[in-house]
Structure formats: C-alpha cells, structure tokens
Symmetry: D2
Subunit: 420 residues, 4 copies
C-alpha cells in the first residue's frame, strides 16, 4: 500500500511561494484590465501569453500593450499556433464527424485545450505557479481552460478574475480602465460590439445582447466571415478534396499544410455563404444559451469527411463511431480534451481512419455543400459488381437473403406465437 | 414448464391448405409480372393490395389491371393510407431526429412497415395464408417487408419472387410479359427509367444504373420533386411551424392534418430546392449502395424539430436521445419497426416529447433551411435572466463555478500527481 | 417570447423571510449537533424528520431527543417509509438489473431520493424555506440529497453544516456536544464505531478508518447483517421466487408486500452469508473510496430477476437494457433520481417489464445464490421445440443459417478481397 | 473510380478447381463421420486439423484415426494452441471484463476464432480451397467458424455437413458409421453423453437433453470440472494475483505463462467449487437456449481484474469500458472476433490497460471468490489523503461541493421553476 498521500497542496501556501502568473492575454480591453488587476490586487508578476490561432487579429500590438503595463520583455510570449491547432486539435476532432447537439461544430471548445496546454508549458518554463484567463463564470470556457490546466499540472493555481472581482458590468469595467490608465479604444467607448465574440481558424462565434432573445432573428450585420447565401455568387464552384487517413491533404490537387487547408476552405466557404448556424445550446454549467456561429471551412470538411468514410469505412465501424460521437462531442464541449477518456476514445477513432483515403468532390453554392462524387483508388469498399441492379454473374446469391431474414425474424415469430 | 412446443409449422403444409396470397401490387410492370407468375407457377388465388402512401400516382388503374388478370373484385384492395403513414410512422420517427448514417432520412424504410401491416390485416380478412412483394433479393426492402410480416403473423407464408424465379434481367422480364400478354407501357419498352425509384409522402429515391458509379455526379434530369438550388426562387420565404408534443400541427398559423402538413412542406421544400441528398449507404444485407434522395418536407421538419427541442428539452434528456438515435435509426433502416426493441425505444422517445411544444421560424432559400427563431409560451427552458452576459441580479452565482470545476477536475489532478 | 426571467431568488432574502428548516434527523450524535447548531448559529426553527426506511433502529427515541432540544411536537415528523421505499425506489431500480461499476447494488444511493422528497413535502406542509442534512462535503450523499431538493423545489434553501462549520474532527464535535449538553452515548465516548455506516432495508454500508487502506482485508467483526460464508449453515436452502411485471410478489408461494419481501430475503441472505461486497468505487465528487456492503436480499433479487428475464424478455430488448444499465446506475449513484433523464429511462425500463412474469428457483448456500430453474406459464419465450438438439420436425430449417451467415459475412468478404 | 468488380467467385467453379478441404477434426464420432462423408459425397481430399486448446483430451489418437481413413500423413495437423489461445484470445477478452447477458463468460465463443484462423492458415499452406466444421445449423458455433473463415479468406468454400446432409438424428448417424466402418466407442453405443459438451482451457459447457427443460435443476453428476460448493474444502484459501497491463502474470508470486496461469486457476477454482453457471441465453440465430457452464479460472480472473481496475483506472475510462462491454461481448458471442469493429474496440480496450498494474488478493471458499485487498505500487489512483473521513489537512475543500451541486442542479431548478 502506497501510504504517501497525494496531497494537493492548499493554494494559500503556493501564493506566498510563487508570485508569478501566466495570463492568456489577447491585448483587448478585458484581459488588459485583468492584467492590471492581477498586478494590483495580487501583486503578481504577470507573464503574458498571446496566441495566433487564426482569429485574424494583428498580435504584435499585444506586445506593446504588455510593455506599457511594465511586463518584462522575457515575460511576453506571442506564438503562432495555427498549424498545431489544425493538425493536433481540429483534424483529430473532425475524424469523428463531431457535432454537439446535432448542430454545433465546436469551434470555441476545440481551441481552449491548446491555449491551456501552452499556458502550462510557459508556466513551467518561467517558473510561474499560477495561470489566469479572461473567461466569465457563466460560460463553458472557464471549465475548458481550467480542466486543461489541472489535468496538465495538478498543483497549478488558477485565477479566474471574473469569478472573483466585482467588475461585473461593462460600466464598472470601463471605470476601472479609466482609473488605471488602461487604453480603451473607440469602439468600447461607444458601447462595444453588441455581441460577445470568439474567433479562431475554425470559426467565429456570437453570443449575448440581441441574441439573448432566441425568438428574434439575428441581424444580417452581425455575420463577419461569410456573405449571406443571398449575396453569394450565382455560379456554382466545384472543389476536389483529398484525404489521407481521415485528414484533408490537398484541395483541387494542391497539397497544403493543415492550416493552409482550413484557411483556404474558410475563404471558399465564406465566399459561398456556407457555415452559418443559429442555435440554442445546453451549456455544461447548466443553462441554455443562444449562439450564432460561422464555420465555413469546417462545414465543408464535415460533409466531405462523411463522404469519404461512406466508401472506405466498414458499416459496423462507421456505426460504432456514430454511436460514440455524441459522447466524444460532449467531452470536447465540456472541456475534457486532456482527460484520459477522451484520449482513449481518440485511440479508437484514429485507428478507424487508417483506410480513410481517397477524394471527394463537392459543389459549393449559396450556402450549400453538395457532395457529387467520391472515390478511393486504394480503399474503396464499394463494389459495383455486388450492388448492381443488373445481372451480377453470381457475385451475390439472392437466395441467401431468405435465410438471413428467417433467422433474424425467428425471435419475433416465437414471441408472436406466444401472443396468439 | 410449458411443454407444448411453439412449432412454427412447415410451409409446405400451409401451401396445400391455403392457396391465397396477398400481393403488394403497384399496378406497374414488375408487380404485374409477379401477379401472373403467382397465378401460373403457384396456382395461387391472388389478392391485390394497392396503397396510396403519397407516391403521387393514380391508383384506380391498378384496379383495372387487376381485373384484367382475373382478380375477383372482392380481392382488390386500394387504400388511402396517407394520414396513417404520416401520423403513425413518419411523425414518431421524426420525434427522435432520426437520421441513418448521418445523412439519410429513411424515406423508404419508414413506409415498408405500414405496407406489411396492412397486407397482414388483409390476409386475415380474406383468409389468405401467404403474402408476396416485389422487392429484390439484394436490397433492404425485402427484409423490411418480411420482418414485418413475421412479427405480425408468425405463421404467414412469404413469397419473394425475385429470390425464386429466373427472370433476373430486364430482358427476361419483358419476354415473360410479352408471352403472358401483360401490358408493357412505352417507357418500359424504351428501356424504362434509368433508375430504380421509390416514392411516398416522405421522399422519392433513385438507385441503380448511372448511379452505380459513386464518383460520377448524378444528372440534373434525374431529380423529380425539387428544383435545383440554382433554379429555386431568388426570394427568401419565411415559414412558421408550430409543434405539439413533438409533432407539427400548424404551418403559418393554419392547423392541418399530418398528411396535409407533409404535403405542404414538400411543396415548399421542392420549390426552394431543399432536401436533395446523394450518398453511399451501408445496406443491412451487407453491401454499400449509392442512393439519391429528395426529402423536401422531411428536411424542413428535421431542422425545425431540433430547434423546438433546443428550448424545450432538458440537456440530459436531449443527449440521451442523441446517443440512442443512431440505434433507433438502424432499427428502422434494417426493418425492425415491429420489433419489441423499437417499441420500447419509442416509449422513451414519446415520453420525452410531452413538453416539446412551441413554434419555430425558418427561412427557405435555394436549398437552405435556416432556423431564425424559436420559442415556447408554455415550455421554454431558456432563461434569459440566467444566460445573460449582463448583470443577472444574483440569479447565478459565478463563484459556484469554481467548486464545479474543482471537483470535476479532481480525478485528473490525482492522476496527474501520480504521473509526476 | 416569455420575457419574465426565471430568477432563482437569492438566498439571503429567503433567510430573512423564513427561518424554518426541515432537518433529516436520525437522533444520533451528528444530527443532534446539527440540530443545535442550526438553532444557535442560524436562529432557525427546526422541524425534525426521522424516517424508518428499514435501518433497524428504534425511532421513537428521536422524538424524545427532539423534544429535549425544544422542538415543538407539531414540528416532529417520524414516518414509516419502508413500503414506499421498496415499492417505488428499490423495485424500479432492480427492474434494470442495476449495478454500479460492475459490483455495487446502490443501497445508499437509492434511499436518498426518498428522504429528499419527504423533506420537501414536509417543508411545504410546515411552510419551511430551508432543508438540512448531515452528509459531509466529501461524499456522494450531499449531492443526492441536494439534487433531489432542488429538483423538487427550486427555491429551497439548503444548509449543509459539514460544508460550513469548523467541527471537522470528531474531537471538535464532541467538545461542541459537551458544551451544549447534547447527550453523547457510551459508544461515542469510547471513540465510536470504527466505521462510517449507513443502513436501510436494502443494505448496510461501511466506510472509513480501517477500510481506508484498500490493500488490507476488512475485519470479520465489522459485518453486521450476514454471517460469513464459513459460518453459514451446512445445508442448502431452496427458495421459490415469483415475479409479476418484473417485481417479486411472493416467496415460496406466500404473497407478501414489497417491504415484507425484502425483509424476508434479507433474513435468508443473512443466514446464508450472502451479499457481502468489498470494493473500491469512484465517487461522483472525484475520488476513489473503499466501501464494504452487505446487501443480502438485493443479491438474491438481482440473480433471480436476471433469471426470470432470461426466459421472458426478447433478446434485443434485454441487450438494450444491458447497454443502458450502466448509465442508469450512474444516474442513481450520482443523485439524479429526480432528473428528467432518469424518469425517461424508467419509462423504457418499466415498459419492458410487462411480460416479466413467472417464477425462479434458487438455492442458497454459504454465500452462493444458485439459480436452478425458471419458468413462466404465461410469458416464456423459451421454445424447446426450436432449441432441441433432437429432431425438431421442421420447426427450424438449418439451411436458413447458410444465408444468414453469408449475408452477415458479406461486408467482411468484400473488405478482405480489397486487402488481397 | 475503380471499375474492376470485387466478384466473389461462385463456389461451383472452385469446387471443380480444388478438391481439398481442411476439416476441424476432433477424432470423435461426429467429425469422423464428417470426414468420411466429405470423402464419399464430395470426393474431397481431406486435411485434418486437431487443436489442443486445453479441452483435456489426448490428441494423438486423432492422428491414428485419420490415418485409418486414408488421410496422408502430411495432411494431418495436430497443434498445441494453448498458449496462443490464452495470450491472444482469452486475456484480451478479459481486459474488457467481458460477460454476455450479465452472466456468460464466453468460453466457447472465444475459442472458435482461433480454430478458424488456424484452418485458414492450413488451407493456404496445403493449397486447400475449402474448410469444414462439425457445428450444427442451429447453434452459434457455425456462425463463429464461418464468419472467421470468410473474414480471413473471402474466397474460401465452406462445407457445413450438418446443414447439408440428412443424418439429423443420432440413429441415422450411427447407421452411417456402422455402414462405413467408422469405429464407435462404447459410450456412443450406449446412447452417448446426455449432453452436448464443449471444452477448452477457459471452460466446459453442457447443453441439450435433460437441460432442455429450463425449469428443472441440472443433475449434480453432469458437472465435470468443479466440485459442488457443498463438497469443496472447509478451509479458505488465499491467492495473490499480479497484473501487468491488465493481464495476470503471476500467482502467489510465481511468474507463469498465460496457459499455465489459466490452468492453475482452473485447478484452484475447481477445487473450491467456483465458476458454475446455469442460464438461459439468447443465441445469435434467434432462439433461447439453456446452457450450463463451468469456468473456474475465468470466474476468478474476472473478479480480480475488476478489482485491479478499481484502483488503477480513471472513473470515466472505467465507465466508458462498462458502457461498451455488452457490445463487445455480443461481437464475440455472435462470432465477429475477426471483424473490423471488434479490432477497433480492442484498440481502445488495450489502450486503457497500460496502467492496470498491481496485485489483488482473493479468498476462495465453497463457490465464492472474495476480493479482500488490492494495491498498485506504481499506478494506484486511490488517495487516502483525499478520501479520508479524518482531517485531510486541506487536500480537499468541502466548500467546493456546494458549487458543484449548484451547477449540476441548475437545469433541474430552471425546469422546476417552469413547472410551478
């Protein structure tokens, strides 16, 4: 018996020992206020971490802002994680045709584990004992960040300012910013965006304000990445998509890196009005929430991946995947990317993709992704000689079906006999 | 111990005792040949059963043809089953958001159990000991028909001509027709449709011929119920859909019967290019098969049903349904509608729909069904006071989230401690 | 859109308005300290609720103790809930052959929802705004109590003293008792039981102290309800168990009430050394915990129920139940008895039991429950005429198996062809 | 598009080309008659394959019998497959705690895939185009053999004499044996065993005859591998079992091979009356069947494996395994060992076993396997410092539980609010 207990040290002790915190820092108003608040309230030395995961914003300004807050240059981390994001997070997730609650492509959920992982790495590197993030206490993102932190470093101290401070209204936040000389740009002064938004290479999301009434249609002006189907081109565009082991490796014959592929698919999808979603979802923390999403490239990927699987995957393997998918989606939605159960499921999912090789042709048109052809030179399980309605020259003996049906019916016949 | 065995009587004995068979008769060439073949080969007295399940064909001509084959007037059954079909089969299936292999809306699968049930009823009524159908030995439909027959009457004799005779090519069939004076209309003489088709109020399907190469795009001329998205109107059309206990009861404020609702949705969907599908599916009998489907109304229903559930269904109930849905879909696809396991699952599904009341607004446009609003006066679980990004006046205590995350992370922290 | 928010009123307001609390009161030391603490710390008027759920203790002394604390007679509730417990909680759970983590029969878990329900009823009756329980902050029971409270009354205030006070060691508790003249009986003065125990008509459990080392064998002296297999009688005892709709209705031909049945089965099981368990389980709150359990009657019930289902339940229905059972078990273990998902699953489970009628004969001997026979006069699906190894006179055509196998193998043959 | 069809060649052509068949030959009466029948009816050159999988019979006599039938020495294969059987089939299956229908340990099911695999290997080696087995057309074994054959060689011809010939009664079989000078030993002349039996290193099974009445107790004289609990020793025996990656590697400190371990566990279990089962199961071919089984070693393994997992496996991984287990069990029971879906699931199962290292102590006594201790020096996730009922020095903050419960209750509170 292992008698030494796995005591998870109380946080108070750690606070004293180590006064350095790695903050997931966007450079925007909210995380700037947090930065200042960590310095003032906790007297923490702050390490800022800013990641490019394809959100489409210029990141070097975050460096300047950090410097203005007195962050030491060696404590400023700005990383381009786009390839890692698509290769190690987005692609593995799409191998399972993952959709949460029948609709949501998990664009926000899948980015959090990467941020969390990188924060813990930087904490190790800079010898910081704490991490912090700007997610509120009502949402799923706090859970996704923190489950990641704890799974990767059980002793880490987590500071979630939104759950601690009293700056819960926008007004109070602005007052705090003013008082502490935190620069507030014009758009915030004018009331800010009417939405809470999140973006990365997979999607952009909108929540809050006008969307809090789920019976009201979202305003057309909200959408940023896609044109509306109405405004999309009147011409169809064909696209050839090639898969290797379940991942896309080339578009129209051009071999690209994972991030290049998703970038290109986003352009194509955005142009053709593809990938808008307006839904009410169930958050892990217990309430229903209305969200709008644009996932142009992901929407194309999902359709194409199902199509390549349709000719290369065995029926029962495909059904096993379908049965497990909602559970896998919940794991990711709820923040369990770094959990052992997600890793176990991933092992199965990845194993099934060995023969998911081939190509799919889709037609893009005004919001539609239409699969028009699919084939695999090496791994197609489609056998026209068996499936044909014409004479199959003995490939399939129709008489076999009689026995197949008879035995499958047997238990129901016996039961029906009883009922007579 | 019940010692009397449930002997399922050998079929040979029944053949001698009872020489009457109920044939699912469409009036077309194939089932006409079968009718004649049953008379000639088996010396059977044939009872014809022709059902209107919304396939959109005139059925009275089936009566005339049957009379020409010498069928007694009292042995000719022509039933309008459209309301029963939608109310007792289509609607219950849509309560589960049922989709087979991520795409297929089960339009053919869901009609077969009704045909089977009615054939068995007519067999009882006419004292017939056998039933017969025109499905081939390669497809799923033979299974769906026959599992239904056996579950509802364990002693019934089933005659599946396509598995017995040698008329396996179209040429042989035509020769047989000629020889037996079976009228062959012009289109069959010219080679017939290039597709094997099936239609009912839920969908029309295409298989075979040109479609047997899954890498080749289907021809535009194939599609019959929908215009292409390209040819659909340039104007968006809004539609208000009202649900009671999970079923649609009114469209744009007009209360309609189930069949009227599906008919109207088909018109709207067809007009707007909605509901085309081109896929490769896995048949229960073991091979992959390429099919194209038009399910205009069903595509709208599915989207709208998910939307009304999104605000009225508890999260865990919704997830339970999602986890079970692929299994339920396979039951229907594979022909187990009349099985005890489908009935047990249906009990659960129906129980979950008690509070699925409210309305959904969708926008129809060139192939798109876009949900833009949803609400329930009586059963909405969406609580804006909880979900709001603004001050919620204490409705939700953000600090609760810290404990929630801590305990959910505990097992991973303990494991991570071990790994250090 | 329902604009009125579902504000869950802040608790502080309720505290002021209503100073009455319903305490789940056993009469023992811990809940007596809680009673006093609620009076002193919160200035609450306490309503005591003491339930007989078969824990085998005299309950009237709880009344006297309550009176000594100044509880008004009309605020003392002592209920015999044994029949309700078995009929509405234990029996429904056993219809699913419910076992948590392959071993645990959920004896503690299944009692909590009943206590919670009754507390909420009494709160309504006495116009109390709060409820309280004696479960610690580390265990599952706090969750089970409180999820029940909240599901049945969303506005209820919950007081969990163990999570609030500082009496976290036994010593402090004793000091508090001394100081407040709370009678402490001899056994507590001597250090109390070496185990944390819980008992009801379904089981008795042991946790803590000596059991906290999972590598060490539990002491024989710990077990209270069963003799050890070694000390059980040397003679086998047969028992005939009759089921109606999945529930036991008679033993050896005597028709008994649910509580009488479980009482009798406990006597028989206890006598024959049946139903001891020693395991490590995963708590909902995140840690592993070692527990020992005696469930003598439940162990017999589980075996017998599986046996009666084995001849009366359809294969696929039985498999559906087996697939869902672990999920159902987790719902109960985790405290979600009153959740909509448990109720939905129960609907399915209960529907499957309609034909689970018949009898089972078991042999009890030194820890073993051995099923030796089972039959159902009305609902047996066992057909000796089909299953026989002898000549079955055509009941089953062995040739059918060839087609059955051929079609089931088809997808694997096609794949193997590809691999060649 | 791959236009070359995967034609599965008609069997008639193969028959002409290749007249060699590999027979799974036990040397007993039934397979001897089959051997002769294959020679006479099909004019086949027979290759005999006799495997030692621990059935406990002397196998060299099979060689002599084969020679008497004129089998060429190079066509006689006698293999000791015991180590492969336990290592590659039994152990992997036990990693999943596999039980069919809550009771059956799959002793027969798990041996068939190995026999099938070896037959196909020998067919390849001897250039035989066909394989044959002695399983009847009513059972599961024909399916298990043949799905294996087809999955491993899609072109193989399968001969199942019991589905083809007319020797369906024992009398006819004996007459055939007499007529063809097939030696019939005394026991068969006297009517043979009253049971149909199957044995291998994992179990021995009994079906048929007296067992066909499921209400009647099996005779004590039937059981062969275990004493009855009544006749087992009066002394308890302790056993220490060590696991590495989920497999047993040593008993009481002695490191043994897989087959040695199972052999030793069978001795111990048999001595202590452990592992008898009497049940009614649902066959894949559709009927219910009564079977009795002795699985002494397997019963100990299952208990011990669950126990080692209880301290080394993460909760959610364990639950994922439990949820998938019935499906995995059905795959094996139904004969899909060599299917892609079983292989995919196995990948997941094996991945979960990496840290299933440690030891378990069990007590064997008169039919009971009682786990009394378990530990893992390297991989225990049991943390006494967290789980303790005593002061945990801050390892766990009980206040966290309040937030945990509050958020888990939120959806139910919102729903209850609606219902008020």
């Amino acid at each position: 018996m292992n008698k030494s207990s796995l005591i998870i040290h109380t946080e108070k002790i750690e606070m004293i020992e180590n006064k350095k915190v790695v903050l997931a820092y966007s450079g925007g108003l909210d995380t700037s206020v947090i930065l200042k608040w960590l310095q003032d309230t906790y007297q923490y030395e702050v390490v800022t971490f800013t990641a490019d995961i394809g959100q489409g914003e210029e990141l070097e300004s975050a460096r300047n802002k950090a410097l203005q807050f007195g962050i030491k240059p060696e404590n400023i981390f700005i990383d381009d994680l786009r390839e890692e994001f698509v290769r190690d997070f987005v692609f593995p997730m799409f191998r399972a045709n993952t959709v949460y609650e029948g609709e949501y492509l998990l664009g926000t959920s899948i980015a959090r584990p990467l941020i969390a992982k990188r924060q813990i790495e930087i904490a190790r590197q800079t010898n910081a004992g704490a991490v912090s993030h700007g997610a509120t206490g009502k949402g799923n993102d706090q859970v996704r960040f923190e489950l990641g932190y704890y799974a990767l470093n059980p002793n880490i101290r987590v500071i979630a300012p939104w759950r601690e401070w009293d700056l819960l209204s926008r007004e109070k936040l602005m007052t705090y910013a003013d008082k502490h000389n935190i620069p507030v740009d014009m758009k915030h002064k004018q009331g800010g965006s009417p939405y809470s938004m999140d973006a990365n290479l997979l999607h952009i999301s909108y929540e809050g304000r006008h969307l809090e009434n789920p019976s009201a249609e979202a305003e057309e002006s909200m959408w940023r990445w896609t044109v509306s189907p109405e405004q999309a081109p009147d011409e169809v565009e064909y696209l050839d998509i090639e898969f290797e082991r379940g991942d896309i490796v080339s578009l129209n014959g051009s071999r690209l890196t994972p991030a290049q592929i998703l970038t290109r698919l986003n352009q194509l999808g955005g142009k053709h009005g593809i990938g808008r979603l307006d839904l009410v979802e169930n958050r892990y923390v217990g309430m229903k929430s209305r969200g709008c999403y644009e996932t142009p490239g992901g929407t194309i990927m999902l359709k194409a991946h199902r199509a390549i699987e349709s000719i290369t995957l065995d029926r029962e393997v495909a059904h096993l995947k379908d049965d497990l998918m909602p559970r896998y989606a919940s794991m990711i939605y709820n923040g369990y990317w770094w959990s052992p159960e997600r890793i176990s499921l991933q092992t199965l999912i990845d194993q099934t993709q060995q023969k998911v090789n081939g190509w799919v042709r889709v037609k893009l048109y005004k919001g539609n992704v239409i699969v028009v052809g699919r084939d695999s030179r090496t791994d197609s399980l489609f056998d026209p000689g068996i499936a044909t309605f014409e004479d199959d020259k003995g490939a399939y003996d129709q008489k076999d079906a009689a026995g197949f049906i008879k035995l499958n019916a047997l238990r129901m016949r016996i039961a029906a006999k009883k009922g007579q």
